[in-house]
Symmetry: C2
Subunit: 202 residues, 2 copies
């Protein structure tokens, strides 16, 4: 099962829990959230212990188990590097905090942006990155700088002992093998749409 | 084959073309871009006509074919709704234009942001959305407004005749069945990382 699908199910279960739903069958889950029902049935079969024959799954129990697998049962302090438009947007993005990702330090190389706090989070000069990441026990870094600075920032994060990097810069960067690196390419999502539009025009 | 993988291959081939590489084998492609080589071989086998036995694939020919399938051989005008931090970041995101997605009108309901141009693109009041989308033949809309306005904006885009919507608001929205809707949840990417960090801590 892909980790991405686990994330999607976790979101659906969170939503159901908020709506006060106690149990759900794989078919109800698929219908309600517009998912592939055969796939949902197959995936959730792994979690049989949270199921009740003829009824479905306990929403809260299954959600807690998936969150644990995804490492979402705890809080992850995150370092955000780059506080331009994208960095600001990511900082204010509500989805991160809801899943336990807490941006606990922001770094930028523009002195005008530094040495102040935003919603209680310090914005620091990039040269303090190494020290702060270690002092705060940060394992996850988000790269939100322009393409031309992305590799240098990645090298800094690696030297600071970061274990995982999420890269939003539209450029392929390299990191040491022991660091998990994930590139986010926002235009890939648009291409899914243009594929269908082009197909229906053919 | 998933559309997402087609997008990834297209990017790799673009990069190779920029580097002056004329032909590539599926194994070289996999190694260079850190992809699953069995998967690449299987996927590219569909495009045998662009292959040369014992050598691999013609980079430019294969790239052009994949771009055509993805609808990237033409330009798509895009409407961006919401011009806060996230909207600004998306507007300046270099990856969109490179793939042929051109934001050709921006809409916001804050009068202070409207009736001016940014890099030659007009920022217009949200109430002009319907007229402008039609006049400009826009088929793709990007929703970059706060969660609480996302559904209303989606309804407006649908009424204006938009065919595909990319939603960045961290909320599930509904659109008529004939509209392709894609939600982008930025925290899902972070969860892939926390999954591995949590696993290695177990």
């Amino acid at each position: 099962m892909t980790i991405r699908r686990l994330s999607v199910y976790t979101r659906c279960l969170l939503q159901l829990e908020e709506d006060g739903v106690k149990t759900v069958s794989s078919q109800e889950l698929a219908e309600r959230f517009n998912l592939n029902s055969a796939q949902v049935r197959k995936d959730l079969a792994y979690f049989g212990e949270f199921g009740v024959r003829g009824i479905g799954y306990y929403v809260s129990g299954l959600k807690a188990e998936l969150q644990k697998i995804l490492g979402l049962h705890r809080e992850w302090p995150v370092a955000l590097v780059g506080f331009g438009n994208l960095g600001s947007a990511l900082f204010h993005y509500k989805g991160f905090a809801r899943q336990g990702f807490r941006i606990s330090a922001i770094f930028d190389d523009d002195p005008a942006k530094c040495n102040r706090e935003v919603n209680g989070v310090p914005v620091l000069p990039a040269r303090e990155l190494g020290r702060e990441v270690k002092a705060r026990g940060i394992q996850i870094g988000i790269v939100a700088v322009p393409a031309e600075s992305a590799q240098a920032v990645t090298d800094q994060l690696a030297a600071a002992g970061i274990k995982a990097i999420l890269n939003f810069a539209p450029v392929r960067i390299r990191a040491p093998r022991d660091i998990r690196l994930k590139d986010v390419d926002l235009s890939i999502e648009l291409e899914t749409l243009s594929f269908y539009l082009a197909k229906s025009a053919r």
